[in-house]
Symmetry: C2
Subunit: 264 residues, 2 copies
């Protein structure tokens, strides 16, 4: 057992029952406490960051972090605000760009309309408890919500605007999620470093169960901010708990600690 893994073990245990945002001991403190040099202390804190248990901010310090569960499933409304709020955190979304441009062919095909039709190209960044967590582009036709720019000044949630102004009921028609190393543009939008793990979630929403497409999105989501869970197909007990098949017991929303039975 190396020194740093022992430090990781101890700190991870201590941090398990601490509210998110709590300050963690600095590198110097850890080094002194465990009687190791700065390199070993730094390695331990870096490992905690890699495990997404803490965030480290240059000049600021190290802080515990919470990961919000984001359940992507058929029938779940594709709404950032609602999902984050349901997790007990505070969502926020800011508009970086809202341009009226002719619809590119690929997106027009998604939306089932003509290329060149006037559309809004929306670039937005979303936060959880004030920390950047998502970023990306959303497309919708001008015809659907001509007053979008004005509406966005009073309401952050695109889902709410679509419901209240455009009078549609957005539902997931198609979604694709994958985990990538954030490229330069995405890491800039997410406020993280290039190469950090991030989700790429492309999605198409339609109006109701069988209505026409209304919204096409491609968003990057920080893996250390959001625990994306994709669910596919109907399931009797598909509410919010993890099925325990003998390997992993149910995990609470807040990491209560993975319980496992050893196979082999």
């Amino acid at each position: 057992m190396t020194k740093s893994t022992e430090i990781v073990r101890v700190l991870a245990e201590e941090l398990a029952n601490v509210p998110p945002g709590t300050r963690v001991a600095s590198e110097a403190d850890v080094g002194q406490r465990f009687g190791v040099g700065r390199a070993a202390a730094r390695a331990a804190l870096g490992e905690l960051e890699r495990r997404m248990l803490v965030s480290r901010i240059q000049g600021g310090g190290t802080f515990t972090r919470r990961r919000v569960d984001y359940l992507v499933a058929p029938g779940r409304a594709p709404s950032w605000s609602r999902t984050v709020r349901e997790a007990g955190a505070t969502p926020r979304t800011v508009v970086l760009a809202c341009d009226e441009v002719p619809l590119p062919p690929s997106v027009a095909h998604e939306l089932g309309t003509q290329a060149g039709e006037p559309a809004f190209r929306l670039v937005r960044r979303s936060f959880i408890d004030g920390m950047p967590a998502a970023w990306g582009v959303e497309w919708l036709t001008v015809a659907l919500v001509p007053e979008l720019p004005a509406a966005l000044r009073h309401e952050e949630s695109l889902d709410a605007i679509l419901r209240d102004v455009a009078r549609v009921r957005p539902e997931r028609a198609w979604t694709r999620a994958s985990m990538e190393s954030a490229p330069d543009d995405a890491s800039a939008g997410l406020g993280c470093r290039p190469g950090d793990p991030a989700w790429l979630i492309a999605s198409l929403a339609r109006d109701g169960a069988d209505g026409p497409p209304v919204l096409s999105t491609e968003r990057w989501v920080r893996a250390d901010a959001v625990r994306v869970i994709v669910e596919l197909g109907a399931h009797e007990t598909a509410q919010h708990e993890t099925a325990a098949h003998g390997v992993t017991a149910a995990r609470g929303a807040t990491p209560a600690g993975p319980v496992s039975s050893r196979p082999t």
Copy 2:
């Protein structure tokens, strides 16, 4: 621009068009080539590993790595062998344990049968090109395939056994995928270090589109070995390309390359 990020940039560029399994310069070589100390060279190679572009093996060296695309979607057969083979790589699966035990209540509920019914609890490890990539537990009733232990001696693919011996046609009934930091038991099964990024994929397969459940699985998959893509809902162009909505240009799936030369 720090020295190590510059080294990362250069090496990532050079490694982009190199077949998987190729040996990469050692820490000492990199340090000498770029005129930096070992720490900087090591940081650069470590960053490449974090980006899942290379694998580093103590005592062995650093090697380029390929990531296999694993598409999870309704209608796709839940078969490791087939998926890996379709990606042009060589699958292999070994049985770690095949015990006949009474079905636990939670799994019995999944399989739509009685708790306590005789069942096989299968623990298997799967490889891609000889490198461990997946590990986990699978459950199926003894009544379905009484001759499972014998069949597994001649056929690695559980999907094939279910088709040829049990005469069922496995289809995805329900699947849940999420990205986690591998706990100790999973990292041991996957041959990686605890805390490494890994997928947890729970799945229930049934016989045909409307048949009864036949197989319940919970498997861990190494994120650096497999690029899991979960797709939800029907889509006209849902074949295998990435939709480009103006943020992200279509990024090549995996650096197309022939079969890897194994490291070791």
